[in-house]
Symmetry: C2
DNA sequence: TTTCTTGGTGTATGAAATACACCAAGATCG
DNA sequence: CGATCTTGGTGTATTTCATACACCAAGAAA
């Protein structure tokens, strides 16, 4: 045991609630544990923080190792320090949440990682440790934050229709929005760029595609603009 | 060195940005460091997390040990994990912010703790470690949160006047509010109880005192009410 | 009793949120 | 090839909420 300290130290981990958006509903990415404790249980991806990496780096590294995901939108959530979170010893975990474009990543996550799978947020299996609680906090944060910051776009493909956008908000906020009012509001913000392009392979009139103008958003924010759905 | 581990572990600390409200302005409580590194510098109160206490417990304990403060409003802020935050070794810190009623605590903090003092948030000395950054994040959080949750009351005495309340918001948000509109709005929320009592010892007409009805607030929240200034 | 300071009140205007329904486009099907 | 079906796309009227704004009252001090 080569590392010794004068006082006992908690172990430090990161865990990550990764959200993705299906056509129908919000999903979260879980991995099946291969070892005790909680062997065979589903859990949030995560692992130990190395002493030479930052917390964000640890979260990104674990995410890639365990699920194959890269370049996700990642944000620190909360740090959980309950004394008996882990039956082995004291473990403090810095929780993150991540948003991914399922359209890009769905296949990858299903193949690269042996035992990773997406679950509907309303139908989760029992989770290891206090991961159910972490998940709840993450979901609450997502629901709260999506209204005041344009993070929802991270869940959609780069080019999306207004209907997709509206459905995303309806799914996360769990309430219906009025189509005309929604369009008036979102287009009025002047954050979307209408592309010269429409949907393909749909069995009805194809909708116009838009993309989110991040550069413009940051500029407006500097001028005091504040996003709100 | 009695505690040994297979892999190197970062040390884990808590730090706390404690805010109080003067007549004039927002203040933060700092302590002067008695040891290297940064000996003599001002810093946020904080210290190591014991292996048998939660993070919240650690924050409360350190706060009492270093500043004499008890029963403060405390909330976890963010966890800072930069690799070189501390020149000695890797230290990850879970930062908190706290709100105290200066009216109750001012004397205490000034006497109990040898080297603790309140500073105007707009006129801070140089701080140790990355405490300046932690402070900035805490202040930003306070400014953001005070508008959407009734945490501002934690900075006022239990019984306060509407003018005090308005000044608190003006100080934190750094903008003037209209007296009549402010009163209309805050009284319309039905969260304040008008007491049969007025200010004492003022050289002008004494204002009515109010208190915040926390029970009622929680009830309204359950019914979907959301606070906003 | 005069003066000075802060307390306390209502209304009119503009901006934004909401409620609401129909025609158009285009693929599919008989 | 016309009928049908599904989703796309649009505007106005109403209500609600935010804002702007000024004067008298109370009470202590001079």
């Amino acid at each position: 045991m080569p590392f010794s300290y004068e006082y006992a130290r908690p172990a430090l981990t990161v865990d990550c609630a990764v959200f993705g958006l299906d056509e129908q509903d919000l999903q979260v990415l879980l991995i099946r544990r291969g070892q005790e404790p909680y062997e065979g249980r589903w859990a949030l991806p995560g692992g130990f923080v190395h002493v030479d990496e930052t917390l964000d780096e640890a979260a990104l590294r674990e995410l890639e190792e365990e699920t194959g995901l890269r370049k996700v939108y990642l944000e620190q959530l909360y740090t959980f320090g309950g004394i008996d979170r882990d039956p082995r010893e004291r473990v403090v975990t810095v929780a993150y949440y991540a948003l991914v474009k399922l359209s890009d990543h769905k296949v990858k996550a299903a193949t690269d990682a042996a035992d990773a799978a997406w679950f509907d947020v309303n139908d989760l299996p029992e989770l290891a440790f206090d991961h159910r609680e972490i998940f709840e906090v993450a979901l609450a944060r997502l629901k709260g934050k999506v209204r005041y910051q344009p993070i929802g776009f991270e869940l959609l493909p780069r080019k999306f229709t207004l209907t997709q956008l509206q459905r995303m908000y309806e799914t996360i906020l769990e309430r219906k929005l009025d189509k005309r009012n929604f369009r008036k509001k979102i287009l009025g913000m002047d954050l979307l760029v209408a592309l010269d392009e429409v949907q393909k392979d749909v069995a009805h009139r194809a909708a116009r595609l838009y993309k989110f103008d991040d550069r413009r958003y940051r500029k407006l924010v500097k001028q005091g603009f504040s996003f709100e759905i």
